[in-house]
C-alpha cells in the first residue's frame, strides 16, 4: 500500500467506510510516516477550529463607496504572467521531447556495414546490413 494521504484526510472528515478505515489503520499500524502525517493534519485542523470568529461591524458594507475598477488595470501583469507560463510550457516541452537525432541506429549500422565491407581485413565476411532476417524471430 502506498502512503494513503487522501484516505487520512477523508478519515478526518469522517468520509471513510468501516472497511476503508480498517485498511487505513492496518497500514498506519506499521507506518510511522502516515501516523505523523495524520497527527499533523489533526493539529492543523484543531488550530484552525480554535481561531475566534470575528463579527463584521454593522454598517460596514452600507458605508462603503462602490468603485468601478477598469478591467485593463492589471492587464500588463496578466499578459506578463501568461507569457511566462507559455515560455515555461515551451521550455518544458522542448526539454521533455527528445530532439530527433541526425542519425538512427539503422544509419549507424548501415555506415559501419558499408565501411567494414571495404576493410582489407576480412571485410567481405563481416559486412552486415540492418533489418536482415533473424533466425529467432
Amino acid at each position: 500500500m502506498t502512503h494513503p494521504s487522501e484516505m487520512i484526510s477523508a478519515y478526518l472528515d469522517g468520509e471513510l467506510t468501516r472497511a476503508e478505515s480498517s485498511r487505513l489503520f492496518t497500514h498506519t499500524g506499521s507506518c510511522g510516516r502516515c501516523v505523523a502525517e495524520m497527527e499533523a493534519m489533526q493539529r492543523v485542523r484543531a488550530a484552525v477550529r480554535s481561531l475566534p470568529m470575528v463579527e463584521m461591524p454593522p454598517g460596514l458594507l452600507g458605508d462603503a463607496e462602490p468603485v468601478v475598477v477598469p478591467l485593463h488595470r492589471n492587464r500588463g501583469l496578466w499578459v506578463g504572467a501568461a507569457a511566462a507560463a507559455v515560455a515555461l510550457v515551451i521550455a518544458l516541452a522542448t526539454m521533455l521531447t527528445p530532439t530527433p537525432g541526425a542519425l538512427s541506429v539503422d544509419d549507424l549500422n548501415s555506415r559501419f556495414g558499408a565501411r567494414v565491407s571495404l576493410d582489407p581485413a576480412f571485410g567481405p565476411a563481416k559486412v552486415m546490413v540492418p533489418d536482415v532476417r533473424s533466425l529467432t524471430e
Binding site: A91, T94, M95, P98, T99, P100, G101, A102, L103, S104, V105, D106, D107, L108, N109, S110, R111, F112, G113, A114, R115, V116, S117, L118, D119, P120, A121, F122, G123, P124, A125, K126, V127, M128, V129, P130, D131, V132, R133, S134, L135, T136
Partner: protein, 302 residues
C-alpha cells in the same frame, strides 16, 4: 602467379608452418576479388543472449552486394547504401591498415573441407589468445567461415556460409550519384587517432550533423560517431564502467553503444567481442548527464 604459389604451398604443407601476415594479406586480397553468391548464417553469443541472422551476399569483379531493406554495395574504393533503388548514402574509401606492428599472427594453415569444397583453416592469435578462425575456399579464395572468440576462449560470433555458388553473379549497375558521396576528411578531429590496439583509418564529416571515424586492429573493427544529439537505441541493455553507464545493444555480428557527452552524443558500432568493450570505451569521453537547465539550454540553442 605468386599468390597462387603461396596458397598452394599453404594448403599442401600439413600441418603447415606459421603463415606470415603478408601471406594472410594476399589471401584476403584474393578473397575480395572472388566471385560468388552465398547465404551466410551469423550467430553470436552475447551477454544479452543469442543474436542470429541470415544474410545474402553476392560478389563479382571486386564488388560486393549485401541484401536487406537497405542494400550495401561496395567495391572500387567506395560504398553506396541503396533503398528502393535510390542511393541514400555513399562514400569513398582510401585508407588501409598499417602492417608495421601487426596485432595478430596467423597459425596453422591446414586442409579443412567445407561445404564439400577444398578449403584451408587459419587461426589468428593475439599473443597466445585465439581470436579467430578463418576457412578460406581453395578455388576462389572466398572466406567461407569466420569464427571470432572472446578472450576466455568461448565463441563470440560464428559467421558461416550455408550455401555457396562460385558462379560469378550478374550485379545490376549501382546507381551512384556522385554529388552525395562523402569523401574522407583530413580535418583535425577530437576523435583519437588510436584506441588501444585500434588505429583510426579514415574519418568522414557530414556537415554539422556528425563526424564518423573508422578504426581497426587488423581483424576487429568499429565505427565511432560524434553526433549533435544522442542516438536512441531500441530496448538497450547497459554496460557500467566505473560508475558510467553506456546504453548497449547487440545485433547479429554487431554491437552498438550510445551515450551522451558534454558536447552532444557519441555512438560506437563494431564487431568487438565483449571483453574488448571496456578498453575502447575508457579511451573516449565519458557519459555525461546534464542538469535540467543545461538540458533546456541545449534543447533550445543546441
Amino acid at each position: 602467379m605468386r599468390k597462387v604459389i603461396i596458397l598452394v604451398a599453404v594448403f599442401t604443407l600439413l600441418p603447415a608452418t606459421t603463415a606470415s601476415a603478408a601471406e594472410l594479406q594476399e589471401i584476403l586480397e584474393r578473397s575480395q576479388e572472388a566471385s560468388y553468391s552465398a547465404e551466410q548464417v551469423i550467430s553470436c553469443s552475447t551477454p544479452d543472449g543469442v543474436r542470429d541472422a541470415v544474410v545474402s551476399l553476392e560478389q563479382a569483379a571486386g564488388e560486393l552486394r549485401v541484401s536487406g531493406e537497405v542494400e550495401v554495395s561496395s567495391g572500387s574504393g567506395g560504398w553506396a547504401l541503396v533503398r528502393e533503388g535510390s542511393v541514400i548514402n555513399s562514400a569513398s574509401v582510401e585508407a588501409g591498415i598499417s602492417d608495421a606492428d601487426p596485432t595478430y599472427r596467423v597459425d596453422n594453415g591446414s586442409a579443412h573441407p567445407f561445404l564439400n569444397r577444398k578449403a584451408g583453416l587459419y587461426r589468428l592469435y593475439a599473443g597466445d589468445v585465439l581470436r579467430g578462425e578463418l576457412i578460406v575456399d581453395g578455388a576462389t579464395g572466398a572466406l567461407l567461415s569466420v569464427v571470432t572468440y572472446n578472450s576466455d576462449g568461448n565463441v563470440y560470433c560464428d559467421r558461416r556460409f550455408i550455401e555457396f555458388d562460385p558462379t560469378p553473379p550478374e550485379l545490376s549497375a549501382a546507381t551512384l550519384t556522385t554529388g552525395e558521396t562523402l569523401e574522407p576528411s583530413d580535418v583535425t578531429s577530437s576523435l583519437p587517432e588510436s584506441l588501444g590496439d585500434f588505429e583510426r583509418l579514415d574519418i568522414y564529416e557530414d556537415g554539422d550533423e556528425f563526424t564518423f571515424a573508422y578504426y581497426s586492429d587488423g581483424f576487429f573493427s568499429f565505427a565511432l560517431f560524434q553526433t549533435r544529439t544522442v542516438v536512441e537505441l531500441t530496448d538497450p541493455g547497459a554496460l557500467t564502467l566505473e560508475g558510467s553507464v553506456y546504453a548497449r545493444s547487440f545485433s547479429p555480428g554487431q554491437v552498438t553503444f550510445s551515450w551522451e557527452t558534454r558536447d552532444g552524443g557519441m555512438a560506437l558500432v563494431g564487431d568487438l567481442p565483449p571483453d574488448m568493450h571496456a578498453e575502447v570505451l575508457e579511451g573516449l569521453p565519458q557519459p555525461f548527464a546534464p542538469g535540467i537547465l543545461q538540458r533546456i539550454w541545449r534543447s533550445l540553442f543546441g
